[in-house]
């Protein structure tokens, strides 16, 4: 499944990094601790978080996340958005909380 597929299926808003919408999704990881993500996310995973600063994109890029999903309509800081565009990693927004979006993705990606 591609990032653009879950954008449609889960009605997510694309805030930046549009050039990465064709990135292939291998799974997802939900965490707000950067070292936890650094150590445990897998290549191609979606990253679900409420962190909105530029370092999120540094970690996402170094670990080759397919996209970042910001929960509860959190808005990225301008330099986070800029880096998302540079790195071709989409930032997606949802009104859902981390539990709900993770559950929906779990169902989608395991079917």
């Amino acid at each position: 499944m591609k990032v653009k597929d879950i954008v449609d299926k889960l009605n997510l808003e694309v805030l930046g990094g549009e050039t990465g919408l064709d990135n292939e999704i291998t799974g997802a990881y939900t965490s707000d601790l950067l070292s936890d993500v650094m150590g445990n996310i897998q290549d191609g995973n979606l990253w679900i978080t409420l962190q909105t600063h530029k370092n999120v994109m540094a970690v996402a890029s170094l670990r080759e996340a397919s996209a970042v999903i910001l929960v509860r309509k959190y808005q990225p800081e301008p330099d986070m958005l800029e880096k998302a565009n540079e790195e071709n990693i989409p930032i997606l927004a949802t009104e859902m909380g981390a539990f709900e979006i993770s559950g929906k993705l779990y169902q989608l990606l395991n079917n």
Binding site: M38, G39, N55, V56, A58, L62
Partner: protein, 140 residues
Amino acid sequence: MMKLDYKIEGGDFTNAGHASSEVKKVLKKLNVDPKITRRVVVSLYEAEVNVVAHAYRGEIFVEISTNKIIIKLVDEGPGIHNVDQAMEEGYSTASEEVRQMGFGAGMGLANINKNTDELNIYSEVNKGTTVEMITYLDKN
């Protein structure tokens, strides 16, 4: 042998990860095994963030040879009072501000330890810390 050198400013979170990203590009170009590259990138990023979060300034020296990668981070800073304690997962002296960004969970050094073949830490309180990370290219 290839040598790379980067400077880090304490407190400069906007550029944290820059050296890791540059080293990753070089290792990719050199066709280093992606699994090894990942280990190097994880440990270098954590070490970089440690300097940004705790020290005043630092420098990173990277040496890539055919059989190993040696990365040394030398910083001027408060040093580490008890290295064994700092290595424990969950132990952190990071500020509240740093924690709110999602850093400072006490997982950094544990991540480094897990992702390096050899880790040496030399620290002097009120002077600074040197972290040496060695990854073997033929052993992984």
